[in-house]
Symmetry: C3
Subunit: 306 residues, 3 copies
Amino acid sequence: MYGRDILSVKQFNRGDLEYIFGVAHEMSEMVRRVGTFDLLKGKILANLFYEPSTRTSASFTAAMERLGGSVIPINEVRYSSVSKGESLPDTVRTLEAYADVIVLRHPEVGSAALAAQYASKPIINAGDGVGEHPTQALLDLFTVLEEMKRLDGLTVTMLGDLKFGRTVHSLSRLLTLFNVKLNYVAPPSQRMPEEIVAEIAETGVPQKETPNLEEVLAETDVLYVTRIQKERFANPDDYDAIKGAYVITPETMKQAKEEMIVMHPLPRVGEIAIEVDTDPRAAYFRQVEYGLYVRMALLAMVLGKA
Amino acid sequence: MYGRDILSVKQFNRGDLEYIFGVAHEMSEMVRRVGTFDLLKGKILANLFYEPSTRTSASFTAAMERLGGSVIPINEVRYSSVSKGESLPDTVRTLEAYADVIVLRHPEVGSAALAAQYASKPIINAGDGVGEHPTQALLDLFTVLEEMKRLDGLTVTMLGDLKFGRTVHSLSRLLTLFNVKLNYVAPPSQRMPEEIVAEIAETGVPQKETPNLEEVLAETDVLYVTRIQKERFANPDDYDAIKGAYVITPETMKQAKEEMIVMHPLPRVGEIAIEVDTDPRAAYFRQVEYGLYVRMALLAMVLGKA
Amino acid sequence: MYGRDILSVKQFNRGDLEYIFGVAHEMSEMVRRVGTFDLLKGKILANLFYEPSTRTSASFTAAMERLGGSVIPINEVRYSSVSKGESLPDTVRTLEAYADVIVLRHPEVGSAALAAQYASKPIINAGDGVGEHPTQALLDLFTVLEEMKRLDGLTVTMLGDLKFGRTVHSLSRLLTLFNVKLNYVAPPSQRMPEEIVAEIAETGVPQKETPNLEEVLAETDVLYVTRIQKERFANPDDYDAIKGAYVITPETMKQAKEEMIVMHPLPRVGEIAIEVDTDPRAAYFRQVEYGLYVRMALLAMVLGKA
């Protein structure tokens, strides 16, 4: 992986994932044992965020710092030379004079690939609009692996806004590399897009769609919850009518397996009741921590230090 | 103090303060001797500011960096996931997956206590609205100690807006742990709140209120100046009528003791004439430096390294 | 240079420049060999930007981090205590309690000198409005030296908006310390200001003005391109009429020497066609990297470590 860009989940095969997750697991053990270590001492990350994302930005910053490296934070791009009209390729070629690796968050699809085309240093895509957010998908999958101790043989249920949810699209694609079953639970207006269903169908992974969580909850090993955004509904009444059906409560958890996990990409705004937080199956805050380890692994790998 | 939160001045007794100030004094000697040292190497501070405060944010950043630790700066919360409605408990539980300690500045009273309730890592309150700003009160008190070489037996005069001034409330409360006399000099509309006067009265500390600084200046060992904000006055003429009476000038200093200090939490906007800056009794810029040492001490203590 | 401020190009003589460039060259060799090293370990830079400048801010941050030092980033001054009206001298005296050196970007002419007057720690001017941006001028000159292997005997052509272009003013002044010839190519409304032409004339450096690049291109060793800003034109048609004449294309490059360089302070917005980027004479991205080395040199020098 030395010198490579991380642009899309599509670039990884099963072997790649196993390697990444192996390194990420080692990172978790090192962090638990010593907190921080100097694997990337002297390396500099340019954290280039064209749109704010506290969570992702902080995660990459922490990943670099826990590896002993430094960060150039660039969070206010809208106010600066970019607002004078500078092109992304020029900005990236400037920053690579300073940094060893660039993490890029940008609102436009394809921006990370464009940046990578011009940069000679590795680019890590931290979200390019409705395009990809590959490190989120990788951390989601790593969470499943660490929590369930396997990826094959699992039933994964995606819940909520499956139409616009970039994370569920990427995760679903990645899961097809394993022997899983996928359930999609969404309101009629926010179903998983047909082209993704078709793409996954070709891989032979079984898929099931239903508007009712109850129909699939009992068989679910991994329940991946996403937010249903009120602003997606043309008619607010439609939102009010269905929102309750997609909220996870302690009642929901009673009907779930003893051995399963609830995930969420966060931030949540009501779609998982806070009473669920103390349930040991609630994995969403641990998921944040797994994200740190995956990003540490990716940084170390593209810088040739894994 | 290992693992504890720093939420309020009320949590400290006299012994705690003496311990903190002892560590802070050692920090000052280390900084003067070597500038920076690796006591917190490998530790990460999440500097979570929901409202801007260059001064406090920079102080904590410097404190962490002078101890060899790293910082995750989070200054733009309003633009990020929080603006999607994420709750403070969720944000804090996310950040503690990355960091070893969280410094929180938030506009709402009680926010630091709420954060601490959910976080397993230490929370340091860097100001929660009109609530508390305990590290400011501690650095104020440490300044008095370092400059006057004692806390007992001093006459401390608070000047300016004593009604809304969070710092004078906290400092007055802390001073009651020592054998002091307190004077309050404020315009009638901005007197020290009755409940604080009553609370302090119970401790037996003598208090005196007057609108005239001259009445108490000659006996003052510590003159703590705060800003009178024009926008607090219903009638701007009222402001213009009194503002001059609360400005410290070289003339004022002539009537003050030879051995006394003038403090100010900064920023100042005219309430101390710049001609006073070169007076050796002007302690307000040294006060900034004492703040660095107090914050270094607190970070080291809650991380178990003091 | 230990403890000195970097405020203006006027403070340097030829010997100073040779010394700075010697150190900058060593920095380039160290970065190429080891990436980062601990010359300024334990030192802290306050990066104080009153107006955004991603490029300059990131360059100083990288320079400090490649020297093993730490940075306090202060990018949001407009929202913070400064917006409460704090004076620059007070802000600077606060920050020097935390940091060992202060880099200041401020929209007002003379602000860096004002800051230096009050600060006891070194101030580096990173641009004070239409005043100076000395580190830009130094990196421009260092680029010429590193690329052309000499400064004497060169013909330097400045192109574009020479009226408002702060960088061409400072660079032209610096070049008069060497045995050069200067050409100014600008539209009539944006000619090099008379007072600068007069100032340079006194040094005996030959100068030539023309609106046509073709007239001087063949003799040019260094072509310094700047942006012509549409908003400077009273009549937009005037802009449209001339803009094409000041765009560098592969056609332009055919008429240029084999051994010459094209520079640009960046960001560019169309005044150099992207097809030129792959021409080995296109030095503008290398120029960014030279900026890193010059800033590393200056930081090391004012902190007494060069």
